[in-house]
Amino acid sequence: MRKIVLIALVLMSGVLFAARLFYLQIYDASPDSLTRNSAIKVMYDYPQRGYMFDRNDKLLVSNQPSYDVMVIPKDVKPLDTLEFCGLLKITKEDFKEILRKARVYSPRLPSVVLPQLNKADYASLSEKMYKYEGFYIQRRSLREYQVDHSANVMGYIAEVNNAIIEKNPYYQMGELIGTAGVEKEYEEVLRGVKGVKYIQKDRFNRDIGPYKDGIYDTLPERGLDVQLTIDATLQKYGQELMIHKRGGIVAIEPQTGEILALITAPSYDPSLLVGRNRSKNFTKLWYDTIAKPLYDRVLMGEYPPGSPFKALTALVGLHEHAIEANDVIGCSGGFHFGRRVLRCHHSGPVSMVAGIAKSCNTYFCTVYKRMMDTYPTPQEGIEAWRKDLMSFGLGDFLGYDLPSGKRGNIPTASYYNKIHKFPEHKWSSLATISNAIGQGEVLLTPIQMANFTAAIANRGYYYTPHIIKNIIGPDTIPQKFKVKNHTTVEPEYFEPVVEGMFQVYEQGTAAYIKVPGIEVCGKTGTAENYTKIDGKRVQLTDHSIFVAFAPKDDPKIAIAVFVENGYWGSRWAGRIAGLMIEKYLKGEITRTDMEKFVLEGSLEDEYAKPYSGQPFSINR
């Protein structure tokens, strides 16, 4: 026993250390990743971010150099503070506070003293920097916007947050990432690939040369430029037309699905989100919860589509053999069902063409009811109707290449079963009759409206709308944008609807805003809408809606315009649509009276009403 104790302890300690070493070196050894090694500094070489061009090769976004004054507190030597503050254009107190914070953060790591100097300040400062030990200037690349519109399309870049870093190991703290719009959608294309340099450090964080003579280092790859489908001229013009209005414009080239214009109003100058005032400006935009300039109404706004939806009711009715184009339906100023009546501002017998041209509620309610009644149950009717509508890209995400969007709503049979408490209570097709005229439960985003208009212009198919025209370099775009999506409605049924939309301008609701020299097909819309004030449901002035395409037989542009609380369809939306079409097809405006009306008109009074706290009247 006495001889064994020490021997046993020696052997046990040997086993203990073997186990501990195994644990440290083999079992628990974090993957030998260079980035986690505290002795290796990883330096990134950031490539230029890709530029953006419009469809006509006009430059939209490029990059600008920006200069940050940095400090490593422990290297700072006594300096002429007054002169240095003068050069930096800050007060001595601010300077001391900045230095104090930097020292608290880390005496050995660099902190920003003054971010984003402009070129002039940089020039005067850089000559004298040698005098100030511990300070240096770091070059960064920032976005430089060549235009003051299209902020919603291009999006913006921002510093990555922790959630992104956890999901995507490419990004490190403080790096930038596209956070909205094209910047986000095509982030990997635009950003390129950063280069990496591994540098061996000592414990004071001083560089002592490249790690293993740089065998792991990589060179940066420049980001690719992209060409967008938007037309900068049209985009700018649309933005101007929408001043003092809320809503948006979407224009699509029907033959390709390319988005010609994507305008939301109000918007903001993209340059606001670059440079020294970025966070101040961003906060201001973010907290404007009334006008919501950061909210993309054309992609995110779900609105009742109103009368333009009647064109779809007509198409589905024809496809489901509920009606023929020549069938005439009498209108006595309203559609009567049970003891209720859905009023119509028009009266007299109409066929499909006139029904569309005059936007006759009675006609479309009848078509809708007949179509539902071709099915044994209203549930089957709704489902068939829904299937047809979804083939126009409604009720679901469209699949376009922008990172925000909404499905809209095309109600299902089970939805109606639920609200009507089926099967205890039965419901008939009449319970859903508002759908016929684009009210009721149906909700569309403006881009969905533009898309179904494009499908009508194409007489039965559409290309998924997209914003990318070309990725320069590989010279390609995703395959899914080159595939025709066919609607369930047969091409021959489109002619009477197209003719009806043409007659809207010839004799119908938009006759007075006709664009000379262009055969435009359109459809007005006036959608009732409500808000809540102090918990009470209050009706607001109707939304002004218009969809159109032109020219009639060789469509080059399909457009949807949405003006919140703009009253009737042709008043604002119709005029704007006409001006946009003329601008795009002719390049100049002949209806200057219309242009003047729109440019000078304002709906700010209308928007102020619900917030005024006063009783107000609508639709006047």
Partner: protein, 418 residues
């Protein structure tokens, strides 16, 4: 000694392991201390160059130690011990203070740390005392005598203060136990360590409470055997008093950097950039090694000088990073092998003096090995003691060399060929 001619044959296995450890030590010191200013392997301005000088001088020391008649060490053990004590006392007059510890004599350019030599001297004195025909380790009077031999250098070293070196003197409990000291003392030492650590970890009040509860439970369980309640109360009071004195010493005798070192061990300080930095960096370095290591002079933590004291107390982290699990295991096995061999040879000694001394050497080397590797791998607290033969430093290398080779000499005299 028997009549006839005596041939001296040394235990070459011990010598071989010694050479291997010293050589590997130098290789790692080279890597840990390499800087841009270095000019070749023989640059004596560099740490590794100086270590080469220490190693060279060790060879002379070894020849010297082996040349001396083996009886000399037994006969002059007391003198050597007294000289050693004087050298420790002299520190308070002539000593040089580094980092709050007065442990060095400065000889213009290099310094000597007498406490490194005091271990060998104490081992000799203790061996002589225990091997005396009149000494019986079961006798309380002799136990006190042995305790005094150990206590004198311990007190002098505590006053420096150098708690790491003091710890090593606990190693002498093993040769004493081997020579008949009651096993209770080993258990007592273990119990004291448990009390010591738990006092620091949980606080005096909780330890006192735990002692009372445990004593109560044991008493209650044994109540049918009619235990003597006085004994229980005495043990409990002694334990609590010990806990309080530990707490008092910790707070009043220890310096802040000692307290910090214990606090890290006990998980009270988790700040990786703060005081736990040494251990944290050392663990990172070792983890970097994986199976085969990063290769000589290729360790990134080593190159960046992240591990403080890496060429001295933390030299093993360089082994871990640059030679990996396999290299580390070679070092571990060499130490285990060396210590086992010394114990084996100690048991073979014909006289008690050689056996006690051999055990002392084995126990001292074991304690250094155990505490140092335990510290570097983050199992134990940071106690600044070197890894024998490996760590940079002339005094330590010489101290261990003398300690070991006196045993080699004593052992050699035991190979008899008629």
């Amino acid at each position: 000694m028997t009549s006839g001619k005596t041939y001296v044959r040394f235990d070459w296995l011990i010598i071989f392991i010694y050479i291997a450890l010293v050589a590997m030590g130098w290789i790692n010191i080279y890597s840990a201390s390499l800087s841009d200013a270095a000019k070749g392997y023989f640059d004596f301005t560099q740490i590794y160059g100086k270590q080469m000088i220490w190693i060279g001088l060790s060879i002379i020391l070894i020849i010297f130690v082996l040349a001396i008649e083996s009886k000399f060490y037994e006969r002059f053990a007391s003198v050597i011990y007294i000289v050693s004590l004087i050298s420790l006392i002299g520190l308070f007059v002539f000593g040089r203070t580094i980092a709050g510890t007065t442990a060095w004599y400065d000889f213009g350019g290099f310094s000597i740390q007498p406490s490194e030599f005091a271990k060998a001297a104490t081992a000799l004195a203790l061996s002589k005392y225990v091997s005396d025909i009149q000494t019986n380790m079961q006798d309380l009077k002799n136990q006190i005598g042995a305790l005094i031999i150990l206590a004198l250098p311990v007190i002098l070293i505590i006053m420096q203060p150098d708690p790491g070196s003091v710890l090593i003197y606990a190693a002498f409990v093993f040769p004493l136990y081997r020579e008949g000291l009651h096993g209770v003392y080993l258990l007592l030492a273990l119990f004291a360590i448990v009390l010591f650590v738990s006092t620091l970890a949980f606080g005096t009040i909780w330890v006192a409470l735990a002692v009372l509860i445990i004593a109560g439970v044991i008493y209650f369980k044994n109540r049918r055997k009619k235990p003597n309640i006085i004994k229980y109360i005495l043990v409990a009071i002694a334990s609590i008093a010990f806990a309080f004195s530990v707490s008092y010493i910790f707070n009043n005798v220890f310096k802040q950097h000692h307290r910090d070192r214990f606090n890290i061990l006990l998980g009270k300080e988790v700040d990786a950039r703060g005081i736990g930095y040494n251990t944290h960096q050392s663990e990172i370095a070792i983890s970097n090694g994986s199976w085969l290591g990063k290769g000589w002079t290729q360790g990134t933590q080593t190159k960046g000088n992240f591990v403080p004291e890496q060429h001295t107390d933390y030299i093993f982290s360089t082994v871990g990073e640059e030679w990996g699990f396999l290299g580390s295991m070679v070092v571990i096995l060499l130490f285990v092998g060396l210590i086992m061999r010394i114990i084996y040879r100690a048991e073979k000694q014909k006289n008690q003096f050689g056996r006690v001394y051999g055990y002392s050497v084995a126990a001292i080397l074991f304690f250094h090995f155990f505490v140092n590797i335990g510290m570097v791998t983050g199992i134990f607290p940071t106690v600044g003691i070197p890894l024998p033969f490996f760590s940079y430093g002339g005094s330590a290398l010489w101290g261990f060399t003398i300690l070991l080779f006196i045993f080699v000499k004593l052992d050699g005299a035991n190979y008899h060929y008629a």
